[in-house]
Amino acid sequence: MKKVLWVGVVLLSVLYALPAFYTILNSFMTPAELAVDGLHWIPQEFNLQQYYTLVTDKAAYFRYFLSSVKITGSIVIGQIVLGICAAYALAKLRFPGSDVVLIMYILIILLPYQVTLVPNYLVFEAFERTLNLTILDTHQALILPGVFSTFGIFLLRQFMRDLPKELIEAAKIDGAGHLRILTKIVLPLLKPAIFALVILTFIDNWNIVDQALVFIDTPENQPLSVFLRMIYEGDFQVFYAGATLYIIPAVIIFIKGEKYLSEGLVIGGSK
């Protein structure tokens, strides 16, 4: 039984990854090879022409790449910091009205961007009019809604809630303050959840397209995802190289953090 499942899971995972392999293999093909009808898997030779063209003619690609790193990195860090504090308040400290806040937070995650786009736009405009803060057309227009998205709070709250109370009570008796309990006791136990948050938030914001098209007018300020869309529509012969480089950061983050998804939780002697 175990062997059958093992084979099944391995085969299934290969099936899932086929389009990604296809992208990588196609990134070594010449425009002539790409133009052939039907699926083309194996390049005739490993041709680096797409990457070369990307570096020489589309050097802007790498500037967009850095913009995306900046935007996505800020959002991930912001969500972790805000998320840990808020989740601790919602799951462990509780306060008058915490359930109402929780329901509102869940509600706002569930609304698709088409719904929040207009409200966000109006706020940014108001900021500019009254406080003279320029947010529209800068990266801030993507970073702010990303950082204050309640996604991370809800995720961490779900994982934090049934950490044993005794652990926290014991630390309190030892005289630890809340910040200390949070960093020394709660965080180490939440590693798998924090890793899940990092990878999921990274993916969502790395792939951002529609919000960027609304909030940012200057083409140079767009994130990489939008630029890649333009390559897809305009310079398809280098698309696969662009897409391959686009996938790499997420793969690296995943490989680096994967170990947290195989460590079990052992709470020594608390039960």
Binding site: W6, V9, V10, L12, S13, Y16, A17, P19, Y22, G38, L39, L82, C85, Y88, A89, L90, L93, F95, I103, M104, Y105, L107, L110, L111, Q114, T116, L117, P119, N120, V123, P145, F148, T150, I153, F154, Q158, F159, R161, H178, A193, F195, A196, I199, L200, I203, N207, V209, D210, R229, Y232, A243, I247, V251, F254, E258, L261, L265, V266, I267, K271
Partner: protein, 277 residues
């Protein structure tokens, strides 16, 4: 006792405050102000017209179609993906598999919509339009959704399973329960908070499948796969903000019902676990 509880409550407010201020300014206040827009004649003409926009919305054929398709899609795709990702997570939790398995299953969420479209076009050639215009189009959408998002849910279920205290599992093994009983009485109930979260997430992700379809078929696809996202995006692009906002609020009320149900499931879980401790 009461006094310490109150004090803890006040500390809680400090911890939630930074996120709540951002939430207030960026989402809540503009969202509430937006309600007024949905009762206006148009976004430029602030004459109030009562429920006219809502009535027109419900009479709109495109809206009715979009609601029907979206509910059908979510009703089928979400239960399937919950089961698949939970089972896969269980298998990966129990059986040592090569390291690449998780990565491979998660890869579909990393790749851009353009790649999906390019692969689809090469796979089916000119047949891609035939397929998406056939009556099987909805199933294509469902498969596409499951393929893209299994990894997402799998990560969460794995994190959820890993959070279960090993001593509970060990003591159940000493009691001699079989594997299915273990799944039924330990893994499934203790994964409830994860399931609530994964359901919420799958709803969000079910909106995103629209991106892949949009790049293949544009703003007016086969009516069988015309979703609420198409409706709202088209309203946005044609600057019909009053229609967009009234659709958004109707949508929000639907979502609120779902959220409340999930909240009840979640609270029920808290009670049970609370009793055990």
């Amino acid at each position: 006792m009461k006094k310490t509880k109150e004090k803890a409550g006040l500390i809680g407010i400090w911890f939630i405050l930074p996120s709540f201020l951002g939430f207030l300014v960026l989402f809540l206040i503009p969202y509430l102000i937006g309600i007024k827009l949905s009762f206006q004649n148009s976004s430029l003409d602030p004459t109030l017209v009562g429920f006219r926009n809502y009535i027109l919305l419900f009479q709109n054929d495109a809206f009715q179609l979009a609601v029907k398709n979206t509910l059908f899609f979510m009703g089928i795709a979400i239960p399937i993906i919950l089961v698949i990702s939970f089972l896969l997570a269980l298998i990966l939790y129990e059986i040592p598999t090569p390291g690449f398995v998780k990565l491979f299953i998660i890869l579909p969420m990393f790749i851009p919509s353009g790649t999906v479209a390019g692969f689809f076009n090469d796979l089916f050639g000119n047949g891609v339009d035939n397929l998406l215009n056939s009556d099987k189009a909805m199933w294509v959408l469902i498969v596409l959704f499951i393929w893209r998002n299994t990894g997402y849910n799998l990560i969460l279920y794995l994190a959820g399973l890993l959070r279960i205290d090993k001593s509970i599992i060990e003591s159940s093994e000493i009691d001699g329960v079989n594997y299915w009983q273990k799944v039924q009485h330990i893994y499934m109930p203790l994964c409830t908070p994860t399931t609530v979260f994964v359901t919420v997430l799958s709803i969000i992700n079910s909106f995103k499948v629209f991106k892949d379809i949009y790049i293949l078929q544009g703003p007016y696809p086969n009516p069988r796969i015309y979703l609420l996202q198409h409706f709202m995006t088209n309203k946005f692009q044609s600057l019909q903000y009053t229609e967009l906002t009234s659709a958004a609020y109707v949508f929000s009320i639907g979502v609120l019902v779902v959220v409340y149900l999930l909240y009840l499931v979640d609270r029920n879980y808290a009670k049970k676990v609370g009793e055990r401790r």
